[in-house]
Each structure stands twice: as C-alpha cells, then as structure tokens.
Amino acid sequence: MTAFVTLAGVYSTPDFRVERSREQEWMSSRALEQFLAGVEKRAFKIAQLSLRNDDDALDAVQDAMMKLVQSYGSRGSEEWRPLFYRILANGIRDMQRRRTVRGRIMAWLPARDAEDDQDFDPIAQAPSHEPNPARRLELDEAIGTLETAVAELPARQRQAFLLRNFEGLDVSETASAMGCSEGSVKTHYFRALETLRARLGEVI
C-alpha cells in the first residue's frame, strides 16, 4: 500500500505528466508518419489518374496530408484511411472544378508553347528501380493501357475501383471515403470492373 501511494505520487507529479504527454505526442506523430508513408504512393497514383497531372496530384496529396494531421490526427488510427481518402477525393473534385473554370478563362488567352516550361531534370528522369528490359517493356504497356482505361472511367466508378481494388478498402470504408451508401459502392465497383474487363481482358 505504501509502495502504491509512493508510486501514485510519482505518476501524478507535473514532471511525469508532461513527460507522458510528450511521449504520447511522439507516438501519435510516429503512427501518423507511418500511416502517411504507407499510403502516399497509392494516394498519388489515385490523384494522378483522376487529375492526369503530376503537380496537381502532388498538391492534392499534400493538402490531404495537411488536413488529416491538422483535423483528424487525434482520432483513432483505424479512422485515418477512410478520412484521408475522403479528404483526397474532395480535394481532387475541387481541383477538377477549378481546372474547368481556368480552362474557360484560358480559352480566351493566346496559347503558350508548352516546351518553354519544360526543363530537363535528371532526378525526375531517374527510375526508382530497374526490372529486366523485356519485363519492363511488358509492364510499361500494361501500366499504360490500364491507367488510360482507369482514367477514362466515370469519376465515381474510378474512385470506387481505385479505393476498393488498389487501396484495398472494404465496402464500408469505401462508402465512408466516397460519402455514399455501401450499395452505391458495389454498383460503381461492379460497373468499373465490367468496363475494364471488356476493354482490357485480353491485354492484362
């Protein structure tokens, strides 16, 4: 009893509480970093296939990361994935809207030479890994064909397909991320799969 009282006294000291709070913050930060590091590549691909522009996709992913940490970092880690993809989906939709408006404005302005904006960047051109040339060629073709077909799906079908198939969310998590019912997710996913199989069945 004496030992308990002594320990209880130590654990309730301000120094101990501050130390424990710092430890919890550090663990939370570490868990968030692991989560973000685990989803960032797939999130970028999802944004890239939706926006068809690398810079916009990177901006959308960064924005989703910022908002998740800022607004939902204190939530349970099991909630992060659907929340993150919900934020990303909203960001992508907003960007597409802005792009539509910008497109209308730019249509009134004289066209610029796109080559003027492109500088050679050796780091950008460096591949992250190198399979053998034949396999690489085969994969290049499969990736190109699939990504084109996915990018051309209707937005909701593409979203359902990428979240279910690529990100691996279950129906409930996908519904939460898409802001719709589980029935709608199943319908969108089924239609996406049908379209892709009809188009790519022989190729992939």
């Binding site: 913050e25 939370s28 930060s29 968030l32 970093e33 973000l36 590091a37 960032e40 590549k41 797939r42 970028f44 691909k45 690398d54 990177l58 992913v61 960064q62 990361m65 910022m66 998740l68 940490v69 800022q70 970092g73 960047d121 780091i123 950008a124 051109q125 460096a126 591949p127 992250s128 890994h129 994969l139 499969a142 990736i143 699939l146 990504e147 996915v150 990428l162 198939n165 690529f166 799969l193 892709l196 199989r197 790519l200 069945g201 992939i204």
Partner: protein, 117 residues
C-alpha cells in the same frame, strides 16, 4: 473457370499492375511526397511553439495600455478650472477678499508683473 474466379483473377492482375506503377514512381515525385509528409507532420510541433505567439496580441495590447497610462500619469498637471468654478469663485462673497482690498490688489499686481518679467 467460373465467372467469380475470373473476376478475382482480373482484379488481382489489375492491382498488381497498379502497384507496379506506384513502385516505379520517379525520384522527384518520391522526394516531393516525403517533403509533403514532413510538412504535414510539422504541424504537430507547431502548437507548442504557437503558444508563445498566441499571447502576442494580448501582450502587445497590454504594453500599449501600460505605455498610455504611464504617459498620462507622467504628464505635467495643468488644472484648467471650468467656467462654472470661475463663476462660483467670483460670486463667493468670502473668498476673493483681496479683490476689494486696495493694498492687497497692488501687491498682487506687482507679483504678477514680477512673474511675467
């Protein structure tokens, strides 16, 4: 092969192709994703630093108030009697005795002249 297992196989192949595509992201994209992640996580450190800044507006307002009060208190005291006080003084039968006293009046005129010179 049943339709269901065909569906499953197709889903697996598409997932594998997309994962391969994600694994092939170039160095620049990977670097920017890492930067984005670090920028997002930096927000967790900011509240501790922000606490100091959060008091800045209140601190600045308090400093301005203290300065204003010290300037007000430190200024030379100049009493400017109101017109009502002047009127009360002139109509008071007891107080301004020196006004009716010829000698005293001369003294005050001399004193006023000395002060002006």
């Amino acid at each position: 092969m049943s339709q269901e297992s065909q569906d499953g196989a197709f889903e697996k192949r598409t997932r594998a192709v997309l994962e391969e595509s994600a694994a092939r992201l170039d160095g620049r994209t990977l670097s920017r994703l890492t930067q984005a992640r670090h920028a997002a996580l930096e927000q967790l450190q900011r509240p501790a630093r922000a606490r100091w800044w959060a008091w800045m507006p209140a601190g600045a307002a308090a400093a301005v108030a203290v300065l204003a009060v010290s300037l007000w208190m430190g200024r030379p005291a100049v009493e400017t009697p109101s017109p009502m006080e002047d009127l009360e003084f002139l109509t008071d039968a007891d107080a301004p005795e020196f006004v009716t006293d010829g000698e005293e009046l001369e003294f005050y005129e001399w004193a006023a002249g000395e002060m002006e010179s």
